[in-house]
């Protein structure tokens, strides 16, 4: 039996065995990655699903039941009753100037540090970088006190102080995020050929021309990456507005999400709709600009 069976089922040569094991391994990897991906997506999908169903239905049958009634009512409610649109505008008032000013100031500091070879440039770079790594709570207290004492004219802030105004939040966002951008942009600018700048200097270009006309256009990829990243970070920020804004109408959308929760009763489906509304812009930005987004994070990390 064994003698006859041998030719019928020849032992596989070593290479196919290895390949078969390899294929089994690859299927295992796919199974694992798919499982993890689904697990990572599940909470988001759950939020979307829950937001489409009325409270009575989910409270009776739980979130894991077949839908009897799907509607966008909660989104309408979030926009009309809870004024999510207003908060969204508030966020833009903070994030758009925040990102633009941060990139402008940080790119100049990075230019000076990385391209002009000034004495003390390294110290400057370290101060900015380290500043971004401090815990926010360390700076929150004095800023809270100081902002309460800085008077602003009515046309700038209806609270008449820097506290409870967009100025405070924007200033802190810029001051805090500048460090990260300086760090990333300085690293990026070092990779640019110095010869271009030297040629410009020979042609008599001043510092501003070297920065604005020669260096910045070459930094477009890094600026796009940082812009994407910084917009998401400022959009997502929760703490600054929570501490520096007391008027509920001025809150940005992330901090305003708390308002969807009632004092005594929380309609989790409404909260789910709110979470989806808040998350959607960042997810869309991420999906559209994924390349920039990842570049922004890794530009800073890829060097060392």
């Amino acid at each position: 039996m064994t003698v006859r069976a041998a030719p019928a089922r020849p032992t596989a040569p070593p290479v196919p065995t290895a390949r078969r094991r390899n294929r089994a391994g690859r299927i295992g990897v796919h199974a694992f990655l798919t499982a993890v991906s689904l697990a990572f997506l599940a909470p988001l999908l759950l939020a979307v699903y829950a937001s489409l169903r009325p409270y009575d239905e989910t409270s009776e049958h739980g979130y894991f039941s077949l839908p009897r009634h799907l509607s966008l009512d909660y989104y309408r409610q979030a926009f009309t009753d809870s004024g999510m649109m207003k908060y969204f505008v508030n966020t833009m008032i903070i994030a758009i100037p925040g990102v633009l000013v941060t990139l402008f100031l940080a790119s100049f500091v990075a230019f000076a540090v990385a391209r002009l070879r000034m004495r003390g440039g390294l110290v400057l770079l370290m101060l900015f970088t380290a500043g971004n790594l401090l815990p926010q709570q360390v700076i929150v207290t004095p800023l809270y006190v100081v902002f309460n004492r800085i008077p602003l004219p009515y046309w700038m802030s209806d609270s008449m102080t820097m506290f409870d105004s967009y100025w405070a939040v924007v200033a802190v966002q810029i001051g805090f995020q500048i460090g990260f951008c300086v760090f990333v942009l300085a690293n990026f600018m070092r990779t640019l050929p110095q010869e271009i700048l030297e040629a410009a200097v020979v042609d008599g270009a001043g510092v501003w021309t070297q920065y604005w006309r020669i260096t910045l256009p070459l930094c477009r990829p890094a600026l796009a990456a940082l812009g994407t990243l910084q917009f998401t970070w400022m959009y997502n920020d929760f703490l600054w507005a929570l501490v520096f804004v007391s008027d509920g109408d001025k809150l940005p959308i992330t901090s305003a999400l708390n308002n969807l929760r009632g004092q005594f009763f929380t309609d989790y489906n409404l909260l789910a709709a709110g979470s989806v509304i808040v998350a959607l812009p960042t997810i869309v930005v991420f999906l559209l600009l994924q390349r920039h987004f990842i570049a922004g994070l890794t530009l800073g990390a890829g060097k060392g």
Partner: protein, 304 residues
């Protein structure tokens, strides 16, 4: 900070800044430096000073020496649980989420098909606001309506995942890890792409197994990424705030140092000196890591 360019070589000595150049440098370096000083470093120093005073934000600033610190360590029951939670946060992100992110990066980097899909999906939570993560956690873990209890069919005596002070920190950590894993994965993916493939080939020719190649060859070359991941993990653990604040304002088992600071300054008590002392403890912990990181950066800078 000297604005005079270092005159190291003869060629550079010829390059002088004109008056206009100095004005541009003065304004465009001055503004970010002043902003960084006013928003980050000034308040940091002020926090250190305030931590030695007993100040309620209105009356006179009274010097009390180290009394705040003594009270903090011996007489403030929330402090040690909060510090423990921050440590737990660090351990969980550092020992569970970060290695998991590394594992995912290694698997995706092997060039499996659909790697783009896996990468995007696993990274998606990173773009979400931590506050949104906190709200989504409530959808999953809420006692009566949460998805988790629905999945495990626990209807008789449902577990209150976020209400039980012994359990909730773990659930919040899971939510935090959901976000941290993707972040770490992206950083390692970028690092792995930069690893010279000939290193791996050489190791394979010398008969090194896959695991051996990874731990002996690949991981050491990822050192800069390891440092960045370490710094980010420490900073994230110290800064942790948004998730617990979104869940229950950081009470009942979810106390964190950051929450204690916020409570002490914007709470009714307004114990600014005391809140600052907590912030200084956070500052000291973070400075240890930041300085280590910067020293490494400076070394890299000199080798460039």
């Amino acid at each position: 900070m000297s604005l005079i360019p270092a005159r190291r070589t003869g060629r550079r000595a010829a390059r002088r800044f004109t008056g206009r150049d100095l004005a541009v440098l003065g304004v465009l370096l001055g503004i970010p430096v002043l902003l960084d000083a006013a928003i980050v470093w000034g308040p940091t120093l002020a926090s250190v000073m305030l931590s030695f005073t007993g100040w309620d934000g209105v009356g006179d600033i009274k010097w009390v020496g180290t009394q705040n610190y003594e009270n903090l360590f011996t007489n403030y029951p929330q402090f040690w649980p909060a510090a423990r939670h921050n440590l737990l946060w660090l351990a969980f992100l550092g020992l569970v989420a970060a290695p998991f992110g590394l594992l995912l990066a290694v698997l995706i980097d092997r060039g499996v098909r659909f790697s783009r899909f896996y990468q995007s999906t696993l990274y998606m939570p990173v773009v979400l606001s931590l506050a949104v993560v906190g709200f989504i956690a409530q959808l999953v873990f809420s006692r009566d309506q949460g998805a988790l209890n629905a999945v495990i069919g626990d209807t008789g005596s449902p577990t209150d995942w976020l209400g039980d002070p012994d359990l909730n920190i773990w659930m919040v950590l899971l939510a935090a890890a959901w976000r941290h894993t993707g972040y770490v994965m992206i950083l390692y993916l970028a690092g792995l792409k930069a690893v010279d493939p000939s290193l791996k080939e050489a190791a394979a020719i010398d008969g090194a197994g896959e695991a051996q190649t990874f731990f002996r060859i690949v991981l050491p070359t990822l050192r800069p990424v390891n440092v960045i991941v370490g710094v980010i993990t420490v900073i994230e653990s110290l800064r942790a705030f948004d998730i617990v604040y979104a869940v229950n304002h950081g009470r009942n088992g979810l106390e964190l140092l950051s929450v204690l600071v916020t409570d002490n300054i914007i709470g009714e008590a307004s114990r600014i000196g005391f809140g600052s002392a907590i912030a200084v403890v956070m500052l000291l912990v973070s400075l240890g890591f930041v300085v280590t990181y910067l020293v490494q950066e400076i070394r890299g800078e000199k080798n460039r």
